[in-house]
């Protein structure tokens, strides 16, 4: 691969286009989100006070409303928020009494670790299972894998998580029952292995949904490849099935697998909301649930905004990967 031939120009133009797209998208998302949450008739003051309702009088409640700017009309609040956003300030969360950007920053790392492991697991096992099923189409192995995949695809993520929790943490007691690190240990003393130990079960639960999808798609794609002309040709020339898969199958399966993987980031984020609740994992998903339960508008808006960014990045990477990996696009561009 010679770098001088590489279509850097196209990559830059492509990125700029995408940035513009991103900007418009984020604007649309923020307007939509803000309008939606402002329509909500929930009273955030009550959420803030919680169980102390009896000790807080009416005067005090008015004071609380004033402090959080909750007594202004919606449009004022939106422009206040937009102004703050452009300065990099996403507002303050009522629930955590912290800047929204800090809440997201604190928790994103944890969620990212969780999603990354789940992503890797689902990709790895999904592709392997799919290839196995596709290679042995019609056999018992294929049927077992397909049954497993179909069942998993229609299972509720949170219930699978609950099942795993019951079996591994309660009955067998090999994994911890919750949280991101062992209780009572200072943050700086927590080792990688402890973190991994706490991550493994949630990541497994999260990945199982993706495994099913990727396995099924990979299987279909591989079957298609194995029935294609060039595979037939290779077979006629004496190539074994394994050889066909290794030389032709993998690279052709790669493209749809990668696209699917990156597209699954959106599903992953959604799944993490459920998985984090089951495992009491302090990540972004848990923050989303809390924000919705406590009517914490700034936090909810901030998280939605951030998740749009996240999904967009995923799709962008998929598109970029396409540009780089698919020879038709890459060679086509450098040739023109």
């Amino acid at each position: 691969m010679q770098l001088t031939n590489y279509p850097w120009k196209f990559i830059w133009r492509f990125l700029l286009q995408k940035l513009l797209h991103l900007f418009l998208l984020l604007l649309a998302v923020s307007v939509l989100t803000f309008v939606l949450v402002s329509l909500s008739p929930v009273n955030p003051i009550d959420a803030y006070i919680g169980s102390d309702v009896m000790r807080v009088g009416a005067e005090q409640r008015a004071l609380i409303a004033q402090r959080w700017g909750l007594d202004q009309p919606m449009t004022t609040r939106f422009f206040l928020w937009l102004g703050q956003l452009l300065q990099g300030n996403l507002g303050t969360s009522i629930t955590y009494n912290q800047l929204v950007s800090e809440v997201i920053g604190d928790r994103f790392g944890a969620s990212l670790a969780l999603m990354a492991i789940a992503w890797l697991l689902s990709g790895f096992f999904g592709v392997i299972l799919g290839i196995l099923a596709g290679a042995k189409e019609g056999s018992l192995l294929d049927r077992i894998i397909r049954l497993y995949a179909y069942t998993l695809a229609s299972a509720p993520t949170f219930w699978i998580a609950l099942l795993l929790l019951t079996v591994f943490s309660v009955k067998l007691q090999v994994t911890p029952i919750c949280c991101a690190s062992p209780p009572g240990v200072l943050l700086q003393d927590v080792t990688i292995w402890q973190r991994l130990q706490h991550l493994i079960l949630p990541a497994l639960a999260l990945s199982l949904m993706g495994v099913a999808n990727i396995a099924l798609h990979t299987r279909e794609k591989l079957i298609e490849i194995l029935h294609s002309n060039y595979a037939l040709f290779a077979c006629a020339q004496g190539e074994t099935i394994t050889g066909i898969i290794w030389h032709h199958g993998l690279r052709n399966v790669a493209l749809p697998a990668i696209t699917l993987q990156f597209a699954s980031l959106s599903e992953l984020f959604g799944g993490s909301v459920l998985a984090e609740k089951v495992f009491d994992y302090p990540g972004l998903g848990n923050a989303t649930t809390q924000a919705a339960l406590r009517s914490d508008v700034p936090l909810l808006v901030g998280i939605v905004f951030f998740s749009a960014l996240f999904v967009f990045t995923g799709n962008l990477m998929a598109d970029l990967a396409y540009q780089v990996i698919d020879p038709r696009i890459r060679i086509g561009k450098s040739a023109s």
Binding site: T166, E267, A292
Partner: protein, 292 residues
Amino acid sequence: MKLPNVLPALQNFRPKSTLTLGNRRGQTLAIAIISILILGILLFSRQIIGSSGLEIALPERNLPPSLSHLFGTDWLGRDMLTRTLHGLSFSLWVGLLTASISAVIGLVVGILSATFGGKVDAFIIWIIDVFFSLPHLVLIILVAFAAGGGTQGLIISITLTHWFNLARLLRAEVLGIKSSEYIQVSSKLGHSPVWIARHHMLPHLVPQFLVGLVLLFPHAILHEAGLTFLGLGLSPETPAIGIILSESMRYLSVGYWWLGIFPGIALLMAVQTFDILGASLRTLIDPKTSQG
């Protein structure tokens, strides 16, 4: 060389009905019918079983599964089998209702978008893209929150967030048909767009719509269960599966495993049945893959 004597075989030839279990089509049909029956029973289980098991019976609380309580009892003494069936039935109905309305929205939007084309089409596509740019569950949570939370928020949210895929699919279908020759000929022959829509497009779309609708149910049901599980949906006196599962978490480490395992399996089987039904329907009526 003797030619094979085919005459006797030909004389014995009688066209077999396609509706037997011997062939794949028959089998698929049988599966579809069984699925519908199972789902029917689940949907109407509330009427079939009645609500006698829902009464609290405190002296009988926290019993593991036994002959008198197949799924055990919960912490208030309520029979888990009855609760699960009620909850499942309720969740299925909510899922059915919201998915149906959502599918209709998808149909309308898809057709309108493809029919009008131009700016309207571009705008609708862009809106759908915006919705797709958020993780689905986050969008559902957002809309549920905006719609006021609770039962009403949940139903409104699921209804308004599940039409995108179907709309895109049907739009693609209509676009594909619109430019085909027989439509153009038909329109040149003087038929109005409405006539064309009814006689040419609808038969094309109906199978896709039906399959899409049936396959939408499991998504709606799972999302409803998920949202209720998080605490953002139905209130706890409506025995829905999500609530049953969320409440079961409280007793996990104490060892009352039956509170969460059985309802989850029931939900899994119901959703699985829908998926099977949808796949069977697709095999039966989708013109592209049909065996009929």
